[in-house]
């Protein structure tokens, strides 16, 4: 503190600038701010205690009338008081805004458990998405997806696949035959066909796509062929006349049955998880030689249910194995018919039914559910499977 003699002090006293008055005004202002219950009240408090006509503002105006030596002290006092009030106002303002916001949020609260089925979800059919899943496994390995027509020439469906006209295998598959004379002209040569035969069928398997692929492209060939096939079965719980097959064909130099087995093992691991593998059993198909039936270890019980009546497995009927389909090394006669040199190239192929796989992968109990298009069945499968 500067200890100057008091004589320099101007005795003119301004009431409003008295320290006790300032302190009083500040205290009142702070009390009013604290007492403001909402933003509206605070606005009024602000006008009364920090506005142009507020005591502190009026006091501030008096400072100019003071002698120069008194200005500093008075200015400081008033400034501090106004600062404190302004600070309090700001704080209170924020407080009240926060309270208001919180109140609004509380008021805006809703019951988020309300259902919202305004636009029911769509879905793709599981047979479609399952096929795609299988495709994707092989596309990732470098295979390509090949397609072919569903109404197919018998040569593609049978002859080129080493199924001769009178081969017993030809009667094994119950074939839908197409009537001749659909169109105007029937000028084609018929090689020993009976009168009226069109030589056209609904394909009974996806194997004709193998033939088309080999005719159109050169080896090495690695293709996967999903598609609809047709047999004259009546629809029941386990049969459908229209079903979905996936066929695989690989033609390259030096392919072996071990490669076939490895490829199958890879597929079932991808679809059913680690530890699932396949076994091959000898079988007969005209278009493969050697041929095999392929089974996979039951992915649910892993064989534990076999011979254990206490732990029956519905998926594999406690057999431990699930039959998948047929496979084998492409018969060299088929390669020959397609112009692929069997001395240089070998191939393997397999085919299986998507419906059957669906039945044991997803516990579909009735084939009809996959056929009838009931949205209750399809919807849960969503976009991918």
């Amino acid at each position: 503190m500067m200890s100057a003699p008091n004589k320099s002090y101007d005795p003119v006293e301004v009431e409003a600038l008295k320290p006790e008055v300032i302190d009083q005004a500040k205290a009142e202002a702070l009390a009013a701010v604290a007492a403001a219950g909402d933003l509206e009240e605070l606005r009024e408090v602000k006008a009364a205690h920090a506005g142009d006509r507020s005591p502190l503002a009026l006091a501030n105006r008096e400072i100019g009338a003071l002698p120069p030596h008194a200005k500093a002290e008075a200015g400081k006092r008033v400034g501090q008081a106004r600062g404190a009030v302004g600070q309090a106002l700001k704080q209170r303002q924020e407080e009240l805004e926060r309270e208001r916001d919180e109140r609004v949020l509380v008021e805006e609260a809703v019951d988020v458990t309300l259902p919202y089925d305004r636009m029911p979800a769509g879905a793709r059919h599981p047979l479609t998405t399952f096929s795609e899943r299988v495709e994707d496994i092989f596309v990732a390995m470098g295979y390509e997806v090949a397609e072919g027509p569903e109404v197919e020439a018998e040569w593609f469906n049978f002859d080129a696949l080493n199924i001769a006209p009178d081969h017993p295998a030809r009667t094994m598959q119950d074939t839908f035959f197409v009537k001749a004379g659909q169109g105007a002209g029937n000028g084609g040569e018929s090689a020993g066909d009976e009168e009226g035969e069109s030589g056209v069928v609904l394909r009974t398997h996806t194997s004709p796509v193998q033939i088309r692929t080999m005719l159109e492209r050169r080896p090495p060939l690695y293709v996967i062929c999903p598609g609809r096939v047709f047999r004259t079965d009546e629809l029941d719980a386990t049969h459908t006349p229209v079903f979905t097959q996936v066929e695989l064909l690989a033609v390259d130099e030096g392919l072996t049955m071990a490669d076939l087995k490895g490829t199958l093992d890879h597929m079932v691991r991808e679809l059913f998880g680690e530890g699932v593998h396949t076994r091959l059993r000898p079988n007969y198909f005209p278009f493969t030689e050697p041929s095999a039936e392929m089974d996979m270890v039951c992915y649910r019980c892993h064989g534990a249910s076999v011979g254990d009546p206490d732990r029956p497995c519905r998926t594999c009927s406690s057999e431990g194995w699930i039959e998948l389909g047929g496979c084998g090394m492409v018969n060299p006669r088929v390669l020959t018919a397609c112009g692929v040199d069997p001395e240089k190239y070998s191939g393997f192929a397999f085919g299986f039914g998507i419906e059957r796989m669906m039945m044991f992968r997803h516990n579909v109990e009735d084939m009809r559910d996959m056929v009838e298009g009931d949205v209750r069945f399809t919807r849960p499968f969503g976009m991918e499977i």
């Binding site: 089925d117 029911p120 793709r124 596309v139 839908f176 056209v200 072996t256």
Partner: protein
């Protein structure tokens, strides 16, 4: 083929405790499909014995005849006294030998026997029928045994009631396994045992004295043995063992000569036929049928023969369809007893035929006449031609042994000359096929086990056995080696394909389409592609509509639906209706379905598909010609929807599905295909004539119709029983794929402010909004960023037949903020174009500074 284990043991030395399941497991590994192992006599417990009927008392006063019998069962009841047994059958007499089950025994099916009171008497057991003993489904009363068995003899052993039968599904290449001989051969190999080959018989050399046979068609019949047996006793019956083996193999005993031929067929795999010699006229010939010839076959079928049918004939005409079925005119007579003299009459002289017929000929005849017999099944799949003489000999032996006959010395044998079949195979070939190093020694050993003769070192010359007509190529031999080495021992390796190209654009589009429609709330259905006239009638298609011309099936599942779909709508609408009928849509929801799939459109110029060569690649032109035999098969996409598109709920009102949703689903697909659809009003069945949009795409510079969308015709809705206002869309997805795609050029996104101008244009109601918008776009110039129709309005103040279309035009420049007058000038140009092209009148324009009041 059903193979009883007891019979199998006759040819293979199996370990004593080996069960049917054990044998089945071995055979499955070797590639035979053993479907079931049936346990005969499971749970059966004696005493079950031979009894002699001593006395019969007919009880009266019951609804059916009841007999109270005294039966001698020897010492088997430990008293030696006769058993008193009540019996409901009447096919036996005093003195007959029968099968008696005594109290304490258990019959198959957990049927415990005890002494019990019935029909007022105590019955101490039961006289048994074949069905009760699990011997077959023969319900011809109780079993009457041949007289030679002593009372008290154990009948379980006598009737071979306890056994196991392997039921094997034989694949078409393994015809030899349709015989005990073939299955025994596989069993012997699987167990590393020697086969006792039942075909190894002493057969006398052919001579001139045999029954005369002329084979006129050695291609159809390359082997024919004929033997004659005379002096057969007509009363001779098949012994129990023979009957039991036939029954276990699934055949019904008939008469001794027939049973013997069946037995030998089961044993050796060679189908045989026995002719009643007294009914033959002159010599036998094997030839193709002459035009107009007829034959009544043993099944009673009256057959009109085809010149391709191979027949056995005598001098009066056909007596059998070769390898398929004999004729009634030379049938062995069933033995008959003369009621007056008690003398038996029947066939006493037979000519036995054991032949080999061409598989294709037999298959065709079998298919042509729709006869599938035990013989034809075998010939189609391959019968051992070399076994014919042995089969004839075996038959003769059994006829002599069991029927008291005498074999004539004459032995007829015709054999078309052909040498043994050989295959050359590199000794390393099976290794290369399998991907396993078996080595030459293993390869040779396995081939020998199959029955091959093998010569050579690195290149093997393999002579295949006569019963394996399926072995023709090196890979066939490789399969034999690999299966005997065990498929289960193959290692697991992965090939390394070259880099692939991933999915094609068409495949990607198909997936995107599915995802986009499912994302828009549609559920995919996969419908059967079968349609009929009724489908098109319901859609109200005119008689000459090209969609009525279908690919038609010869053998449809239903005669009502013989065609293949030309549109996806019939199937998809039926599925919609099915869902609706079941209430599958839930409380108040709607149904929205989609399908992608092929439709089949005859070109009208289909040629007949020929049978191309298979011994080498056919020429490109030939392959292309096969394509001409097929219909067009484009992939379509369709949607159908009905009911609420958006449901009502706590959020407010829902919205009904309508024509606009169907059109929008087409745009959804088009967006995925990267094409812009041009939409025009159209009239096209089955759509509502005022609510149908034709959808066009531009392909190769030309506008092409790609499909339709809108609300269905109310008549169609009614005819198909669909929900009101059902809407539908169908597009040629392949066409969209061809028209779309390509690389999307990135838009230039301007950061300068937008200038908006709204205009309301009054046009005739017949003017499509799409045309007005197109005119606005055309006139607005390149400053135009977007046009959006935000209101359609009709009202009195507009005048009759007028509508007002309100558009928001947004203008923006790439390089500057637009001046108000620039935006307005562009707006004016747009309006001027609309006025010129559509006759529009500007009703008002807002948002511009100089906008006049509306």
């Amino acid at each position: 083929m059903r193979a009883p284990l007891s019979w199998l043991r006759e040819y293979v030395e199996l370990p004593a405790g080996e069960t049917g399941r054990d044998v089945a497991a071995k055979l499955i590994e070797a590639g035979l499909e053993v479907e079931t192992v049936e346990k005969l006599g499971a749970g059966l417990k004696g005493p079950l014995v031979v009894g002699k009927v001593l006395a019969i008392e007919e009880l009266t006063g019951f609804k059916k005849p009841i007999r109270y019998c005294q039966v001698d069962v020897g010492q088997s009841n430990s008293t030696g006294e006769p058993q008193n047994i009540v019996c409901g059958a009447t096919n036996f007499a005093v003195g007959d030998k029968v099968v008696v089950v005594l109290p304490g025994a258990v019959l198959p099916g957990d049927f415990a026997i005890s002494a019990r009171k019935t029909y007022g008497k105590v019955s101490e057991g039961m006289i048994c029928s074949a069905a009760e003993l699990g011997m077959g489904d023969d319900h011809g009363g109780i079993i009457v045994l041949p007289p030679e068995y002593e009372p008290g003899t154990d009948a379980i052993e006598l009737l071979e009631l306890v056994d196991e039968v392997l039921d094997i599904a034989v694949t078409p290449d393994r015809g030899y396994c349709l015989s005990m001989r073939g299955i025994a051969r596989e069993t012997a190999t699987a167990y590393g045992q020697q086969l006792r080959d039942p075909a190894l018989l002493d057969v006398p050399s052919p001579n001139e004295h045999g029954f005369r046979v002329e084979v006129a068609d050695p291609k159809g019949c390359d082997r024919f043995s004929a033997r004659t047996v005379t002096g057969l006793r007509p009363d001779a019956r098949s012994p129990i063992w023979l009957q039991r083996r036939l029954q276990k193999a699934g055949m019904r005993p008939v008469s001794l000569p027939v049973d013997i031929t069946n037995y030998v067929m089961l044993e050796l795999g060679s189908p045989l036929h026995a002719y009643d010699r007294e009914r033959l006229h002159g010599h036998i010939s094997v030839r193709r049928a002459a035009p107009g010839e007829r034959l009544t076959t043993l099944d009673g079928g009256k057959r009109k023969l085809d010149p391709e049918d191979l027949v056995i004939a005598d001098e009066q005409g056909p007596i059998g369809l070769a390898g398929v079925m004999g004729g009634v005119n030379s049938e062995i007579a069933d033995p008959e007893q003369d009621p007056a003299t008690g003398e038996w009459r029947g066939t006493t002289e037979v000519v036995v035929e054991a032949a080999h017929f061409d598989p294709v000929t037999v298959a065709r005849t079998s298919r042509r006449h729709k006869i599938s017999s035990e013989a034809s099944r075998r010939f189609e799949r391959g019968v051992d031609p070399e076994a014919a003489a042995a089969a004839a000999q075996r038959t003769v032996d059994l006829l002599v042994l069991l029927a008291g006959g005498t074999a004539e010395a004459g032995v007829t044998e015709f054999a078309a000359p052909h040498g043994p079949r050989t295959i050359k195979i590199d000794a390393g070939h099976p290794d290369r096929v399998a991907g396993v190093a078996y080595g030459r020694e293993a390869v040779v050993r396995r081939l020998q086990q199959v029955g091959c003769d093998v010569y050579g070192q690195d290149e093997l010359t393999v002579t295949v056995p006569s019963w394996r007509s399926d072995l023709t190529d090196p890979n066939d031999l490789a399969e034999e080696v690999i299966r005997l080495e065990g498929y289960e021992n193959l290692p697991s390796t992965l090939p390394r394909p070259p880099a692939g190209r991933g999915l094609t654009e068409r495949q990607r589009l198909l997936r995107r389409t599915g995802r986009a429609l499912a994302g828009a709330g549609y559920v995919e259905a996969l419908d059967y592609p079968f349609v009929g006239a009724a489908s098109f009638d319901q859609l109200g298609l005119p008689e000459d509509d090209p969609r009525r011309r279908t690919v038609t099936l010869v053998n449809p599942l239903s005669d009502e639906e013989p065609g293949m779909r030309t549109t996806l709508l019939p199937g998809l609408l039926a599925t919609l209706r099915r869902n609706e009928g079941r209430g599958s849509q839930g409380g108040q929801g709607g149904l929205a379905l989609f399908e992608t799939g092929l439709v089949f459109r005859p070109t009208g110029a289909e040629t007949r598909a020929t049978r191309l060569r298979v011994d080498a690649r056919p020429g490109d032109e030939e392959i292309a010609a096969l394509g001409d035999a097929l219909p067009e098969q484009p992939r379509h996409v369709a949607t159908v929807l009905a009911g609420q598109r958006e449901t009502s709920g706590w959020w407010g009102k829902g919205r009904a599905a309508e024509w606009a949703d169907a059109v929008e689903s087409a745009r959804t697909v088009a967006r995925e295909a990267g094409v812009e659809l041009t939409v025009r009003n159209a009239q096209y069945d089955p759509w509502h004539p005022g609510r149908c949009a034709a959808l066009y795409v531009t392909h190769d510079g030309a506008e092409v119709l790609a499909g339709h969308a809108g609300e269905l015709h109310p008549r169609v809705v009614k005819a198909m029983g669909l929900p009101e206002r059902t809407s539908a869309m169908e597009l040629d997805l392949d066409l969209l794929g061809r028209a779309g795609g390509g690389v999307v050029p990135a838009p230039r996104v301007s950061g300068f402010p937008v200038a908006t101008r709204d205009v309301a244009l009054v046009v005739d109601e017949s003017v499509p909004a799409a045309e007005v918008e197109s005119a606005l776009r055309g006139g607005a110039g390149e400053l135009l960023e977007s046009v959006r129709l935000f209101d359609v309005f009709t009202g009195e103040q507009l005048g009759e037949g007028k509508k007002s279309l309100a558009y928001a035009l947004r203008f923006r420049a790439a390089d500057r903020t637009l001046k108000a007058e620039e935006a307005s000038a562009a707006r004016d140009a747009a309006v001027a174009a609309a006025v010129e092209r559509t006759g529009a009148v500007l009703r008002g324009a807002e948002a511009g500074p100089e906008a006049p009041a509306g």
